[in-house]
């Protein structure tokens, strides 16, 4: 029983409601949302601290005991993800102030960002499968509005596709929950896990449900056959929205796969985990092919999201302690560095006025700070030791090798080089070269203020890489719960 658990959901929700009343007072909206997101970060830090000292925190809403009421559960994994989400939310809001434009700000941009944070934090925290669906919908509703806000032609067109795909996947989610409920007769995730463990002969319908969940979460997380909507939809909105969606929404899908596959469907792994493994490797390949094929900076980073999702899924499908540790490391790293990269290419686009890599070069002459920040972000993404991508990828590959999956591990190892190539392509073609090109006037582009949130995120990512010894106890605590569902069940049901 701890009210701290609900605060990362409650603070953004309250902020969003308050901000709705002051839609025309833009400067008030800006500073209230910055303050509120800072407060969320502080609350999330406290939450991580509490969970690390006292173990899993739960809150039974309305004091109904666990299997009957709605329970919020904060184990280490969700606490860490809530913290990362809050940090990204803070950086993106700071970035939006100077880049999103007054018209969008007047039309409820900040409240909707807060609603998105409510949905994401809620999805990470909830311990009830139906409420996972509800928080998904909160998050998706906010993302529809963020995608279409501004109403340009391309945004309208891509939002229709995005909305259709997600409405269908939400229906599938409801169907999957219906099937699961008919078998186990409960909605509390810990209780579901317990009931599934009690079933003697695994009926085939559980595999069907597992695959249905994989389809639903895979659509949100953009894994291999279900990623088709993503490059188009994420291309349309302005950069801060893109950073939010790219860094947070896909990772909620991955978190849900990790949660359901480690808590519900761990008994009979022969079919589901094998499928997950194959899909993960193909996802990595598709992402890499996309990121080296395009000459558009936005497209390159968007396809890099798909690659990262493949790497994380690979670790989850191996399902050993080492690979899970790697996946959690990589998940947190990827959220931060993707947001940072999106913010950085946003600055590049603002300076050059184009996202086509063939149309600009030589940025290093005028913008050395931007160049080197981008360079650090790029090598962190590719996982050059000792930067942050390295530890996660190394552990994932080690886990894969340890359980005899050589082909997949080698593919991930080789594709890391291609990821490095794809981000270095931006560095070589965009930043290097002679200064024979006139960019927009340096004074008119207030890029320094935009650089601050990007530098904050890159600095966190660098500290995360260098301080992986310091982070390790937290991550291993998260993995311990993932690998031993009994800890989770015991904490929620309090037997």
């Amino acid at each position: 029983m701890n009210n701290l658990v609900v605060l990362p959901i409650f603070v953004p929700l309250l902020t969003a409601v308050i901000l709705m009343f002051f839609s025309k007072n833009v400067s008030l909206q800006r500073w209230v949302s910055v303050g509120a997101s800072l407060l969320t970060v502080i609350v999330a830090v406290l939450l991580v601290r509490t969970v690390s000292i006292d173990g899993i925190q739960t809150l039974d809403i309305g004091s109904w005991p666990a299997p009957f009421g709605i329970t919020l559960v904060s184990d280490m994994l969700s606490a860490l993800l809530v913290l990362t989400t809050s940090v990204i939310g803070f950086a993106v809001i700071l970035y939006s102030i100077y880049s999103i434009g007054i018209e969008r700000e007047r039309h409820f941009y900040y409240p909707i960002v807060q609603f998105l944070l409510v949905g994401v934090n809620g999805a990470f925290t909830t311990g009830d499968i139906f409420n996972l669906f509800v928080f998904f919908e909160v998050m998706l509703m906010a993302s529809y509005v963020l995608l279409v806000l501004g109403g340009t032609k391309i945004q309208l067109r891509e939002t229709i596709k995005y909305l259709t795909v997600n409405v269908i996947s939400s229906s599938l989610f409801v169907i999957a929950i219906a099937y699961l409920y008919s078998i186990v007769g409960t909605l509390n995730m810990a209780h579901i896990s317990q009931r599934i463990a009690e079933i003697e002969n695994m009926p085939g319908i559980l595999t069907v449900i597992a695959i249905l969940f994989l389809i639903v979460f895979g659509l949100k997380g953009a894994i291999f056959p279900l990623y088709f909507w993503m490059p188009g939809s994420y291309y349309a909105p302005p950069i801060p929205v893109m950073a939010l969606l790219g860094a947070l929404l896909t990772k909620v899908g991955i978190y849900s796969i990790a949660r359901t596959y480690s808590l519900f469907f761990y008994h009979d792994q022969s079919y589901t985990h094998e499928l997950l493994l194959v899909l993960a490797v193909v996802t990595v390949l598709i992402g890499v092919v996309g990121s080296i094929a395009y000459w558009d900076v936005k497209k390159i980073i968007i396809y890099n999201i798909i690659t990262a999702i493949g790497v994380i899924l690979y670790g989850i499908s191996i399902a050993t302690t080492t690979s899970m540790t790697g996946s959690v490391y990589y998940l947190l790293h990827d959220m931060i560095i993707k947001a940072a990269l999106f913010l950085l290419i946003g600055i590049i686009i603002k300076i050059t006025g184009t996202s086509n890599l063939k149309k600009f070069h030589g940025l290093i002459n005028d913008y050395p700070v931007l160049t080197w920040v981008y360079f650090i972000a790029a090598i962190s993404l590719a996982g050059i030791p000792p930067f942050s991508g390295f530890v996660g990828k190394w552990l994932v590959i080690q886990g894969g090798m340890g359980s005899g999956e050589f082909l997949g591990s080698v593919i991930i190892l080789i594709t890391s080089l291609l990821v490095l190539y794809s981000v270095m392509k931006i560095f070589i073609h965009g930043f290097w070269g002679e200064k024979d090109q006139q960019f927009a006037d340096k004074e008119s582009v207030s890029y320094k203020k935009l650089l601050v949130p990007a530098i904050i995120l890159v600095a966190i990512s660098v500290l995360y890489g260098f301080g992986s010894e310091f982070v390790y106890p937290y991550v291993s605590q998260a993995v311990e719960t993932l690998m031993n569902p009994e800890i989770y069940i015991e904490a929620v049901l309090k037997e």
Binding site: F130, F133, V134, E137, M141, Y144, V145, V148, G151, K153, I154, L156, R157, T159, I160, K161, L163, T164, V167, I168, S170, S171, L172, V174, I175, I177, A178, Y179, Y181, S182, G185, L187, P231, G232, Y235, A236, D296, T354, S355, N356
Partner: protein, 113 residues
């Protein structure tokens, strides 16, 4: 009763799929509506149709019907109404801006600069 419900749900899903595959956005919206109604009926059936007394405290100890599916459907219906309303507004606005409601003309990634 269960078999009747199963047939009805299947019919709803089939119609929804047919409508979703059509080119007009308006038909697709109706399709998503039917799809979510099918899913709601599925929850109701899966949770068990009425088999016992009303779910109130009773002294006789007669078995009661599970009230949870109704609560779930209520939530899901509200959400699907919200999404459908947003979808209708979006379709209307994009008809105004893009001058078409034919999905064929919204294909591809052309115009992504």
């Amino acid at each position: 009763m269960e078999i009747l419900m199963a047939i009805l749900i299947g019919f709803l899903f089939a119609s929804a799929t047919y409508l979703l595959l059509s080119k007009s956005i308006l038909r697709m919206i109706i399709g998503t509506g039917l799809l979510s109604h099918g899913a709601h009926l599925l929850i109701l059936t899966m949770g068990g149709l009425k088999k016992g007394a009303v779910p109130l405290v009773n002294e006789e100890g007669v078995p009661v019907t599970d009230p949870l599916p109704q609560a779930l459907i209520l939530t899901a219906i509200v959400i699907s109404f919200g999404v459908t309303a947003l979808f209708l507004v979006l379709a209307y606005r994009s008809f105004q801006e893009l001058g078409t409601d034919n999905m064929d003309e919204l294909r591809g990634t052309d115009g992504n600069e």
